[in-house]
Structures are given as C-alpha cells and as structure tokens.
C-alpha cells in the first residue's frame, strides 16, 4: 500500500502555503510540505513523497546506518557467496 518515493527538495515555491518542488530522477512536481510544517523543509532535503505530499524527511545518516547493518549481517557469508557466484552458470 501507499506508494512512497524519495524526492529531493529543489525549490520552495510558496512558504505560507507550504508548497515545494521535489525532483525524482530529474522529474519535477510541486508538492505540499504542510505535514512537515513543524520542521520546515529546505532546499537539499530529501523527503518521502506520497500522493503529492511530503510525509517525512529522509534521514541520510540513518540510511547509511541501515546499509552498514545490512553489510555487517552478510559479512560472514561474503567468501562463501563469492565462491558461489564464481561457479554460477549463466
């Protein structure tokens, strides 16, 4: 449910109306940042966009931490997997 995609804030269109423009892979859309009014969005922020609304700011540090954890979890299996991939018949 609830298709949400990351977009980068590239412009504040109207601060009082909470309108901002986000870019997704070079595609632009003006969205409402009203739901983030308590911590207003700034150009350069990344936000999760759903039905034309910024739902949440994306925390870049947390994203890195999650990726680190994922890498750590798989670490012990790295050699095993590399060996497996070398033998994979395509």
């Amino acid at each position: 449910m609830c298709l949400g995609i990351p977009g980068e804030v590239i412009d504040i269109v109207d601060r009082s109306e909470h309108l901002a423009t986000v870019a997704v892979n070079g595609v632009h859309r003006t969205i409402s940042a009203r739901l983030l009014a308590e911590d207003p969005v700034r150009v350069g922020d990344w936000v999760l966009v759903h039905v034309g609304f910024a739902m949440s700011k994306i925390d870049q540090r947390e994203a890195e931490l999650t990726l680190d954890q994922i890498r750590k979890l798989g670490k012990p299996y790295e050699e095993e997997m590399d060996a497996f991939m070398d033998t994979e018949i395509v």
């Binding site: 449910m1 609830c2 298709l3 995609i5 997704v24 892979n25 070079g26 595609v27 632009h28 859309r29 003006t30 966009v49 759903h50 039905v51």
Partner: protein, 400 residues
Amino acid sequence: MSLPEGATPPTPKAASPAGRQVASESEVLDRIEAVRRRRPRLKDETVTLAHGAGGKASAALVDAVFIEAFGAPNPAELTDAAILTVGSVGHGGTPVDGESRPWACRIALSTDSYVVNPRRFPGGSIGDLAVNGTVNDLAVSGARPVWLSTAFVIEEGLAVAELRAIAADMRAAADRAGVAIVTGDTKVVPKGAADGCFITTAGVGIVPDGRVLGADQVRVGDRVLLSGPLGSHGMAVMMARGNLAIEADIQSDSAPVTAAVEALFVGVPQVRWMRDPTRGGLATVANELAQASGLGVLLDEEALPVRPEVRGACDMLGIDPLYVANEGVFVAVVPADQADAALSAVRRAGGAGRGDGPGAGAAMIGRIVANPPGLVTVRNAFGGTRLVDMLVGDPLPRIC
C-alpha cells in the same frame, strides 16, 4: 462454482491447513497457466477505453467481433500488416492480362487510426505519429514502406492553422521515412461528434525477396533485441496532458524505424520476427510472440533500457515501463550466433555513440526459451523470476 471452458477441476490430493481437499500448488498453477495461455475472451457488453488500450481487452474485442466476422488464418498471430502477393499470375495459376512473362511481388498493407490527447506533445504530434506508426508497422513486417493514404475526421471548429501544422508534420515525417502520401480523404463532423481531429493512414510497402518473418521462424536459444529505451512516448503524452502537474523533460520517441530495420536486415538477413511495441508496451508484444510461437520469452530486467526521467515519472506514478507505449522502437528476434552483429548494425543505424536516432540505444534484452511455453518471464538482478502478463487495461497512476 463453474470453471471456465477447458479448465480441469482440481484433483483432490493434499489436505489444506484447514483440512479441505485441494490440489497441489503446482497443479493449480498449471491449470491457471493453461487458462492464461488462451486468447482472452470478450465478456463485456459495451466497449470501454480498455478495449482500445492494446492489451488483453483489445485482443478479446478483436477476436470476438472482427475475427469472427472477417476470419483470419491464425488468430494467435495477428500482425499489424498483411503480406500479400500480387503479380501476373492469377488465383488459378494462369497468366493474366496477356503478359508474356509471369511476375510476382510481395507487398505489405497496413492501416491504423490515430487519436491522441493532446494532439501536440514534446517530441511529436498526431501528424508525425500518423505517418510513423503506419511506416513502422510496415517496416517490422519486413517491408520497405512506399506509399501512404490518409483520411481525416475533423470536428467542426478546429483551427485551420492547427490542421496546417499537422499536415506539415506529416509531410516532414513522410520525407524522413522516404514515403509518399499519395491519396486522402477529409470528413467534417458536428461539434462533439469527434474530439478535434482523428487521422487514419494506410500504407503499402514492398517486401524484398528472401525476407521471411513470423513467430513460426523463432527457435529456442534465439536472442531478443530492443532497438531503444522503453516508455518515452507513453510517458511524454501522459505528462503533456498536464492533469498530473508533473514536469519532466521526456520526449516522445516518435520516429520511423525504417533505417534501423534495413540496417538489421543487412547485418542479419535471417531476422526471425519483428514487432513495434506501441500500445500495451513491450509486455504485450512479448506475450503475443510467446503465444504465437508456443515458446517462452525470458527477459533480463537489468538489460531493459529506460531513460532516467522516464523511470522517475513511472516510479512516481506506480507505472511499469514494460506496459508503456513506444512509437520509435522495435523488437526483433535474431539467431543467437548473430546477436552481436544485429546489435552493432542497429546501433550504427541510430548514430551509435553520437546520435539518438532510432537504434542508438539498442540492447539485447532476453532470449527465447522452451519453458514455460507460451509465457513471458523476467529474471531480475537477484536471480528471481516473475511472470509478465499482457496489459489488462490502460496504465493508470496508482497510490498503492
């Protein structure tokens, strides 16, 4: 419960968690796939927009109404152009018109109607679509397009300036494709009876000797070539409608594929099958190939070319580029040992590194497999495989 015609009822075997007797998972899935492989059937009482979207609903309508009335040699393979033989030899084998030497020539005949909203969009207009679409239908049937006819249904009130611009686009596209618009017709209908302007074109092309294309030519192991990135036309038009308020630098790929197709035939004379993935997208033509050949089509997800902006727009709207319309690319099946030759021939025709003409972004996107027969599958980066069904209706933006 009534099962659709031809489906076998499940055989009682394993007990379900609730203690009910059901067939095994693979038996159920086999049964469903048998149903899926069949041509879709028309169940609607009225025509809806889905019947024009180029997917399952379109196929069902054509089968139930037009094939029913007109007949077709092989309903499973309805191509966009008919290949016909003309010449001095009549049906009975006797020379006609008193000609001394018998002669024969294969021509391709194709027709298509163009209704697009808006009529002008980044990268094209209804005018160049009306030419390129019919030219491309001829080209992928193996023909060299020569002549076009055009018919206009115009709604009262259309500005003459706009009609002039459309005609100029048609002329430019015809010149680019090397075809002549040789005859036409104009009808004007009262306001409300049409939306602005509808165009129908028909085209005739000559099929050079030795070209034999068809799903029956396709063999297991053959490779699938796509001549350029997916989804640009459909997304350009969707963005240009403006109601989604999304701004994207997406140009329609509307263009004649004739040069790239001719280059392919020079590089690889044994091309097996070709089609242009217009409405319904790559997913739909791949399914048509699978059904008509009785073989499987295995696509490689990572190899599918999609421009970043097209992917961005698709992701924003929850639309799969596999189902989005294209107007300047073609899909070709070629023998595996000629895949490299095919790719470089098509890329060269598109201007390879420097240009962006049709063919420049060509890629090998998959191969023909024995199993599962009649179905299209996509292998993703994880090695997982999923089925790709035909388009069910027009792609709609979704929130979930």
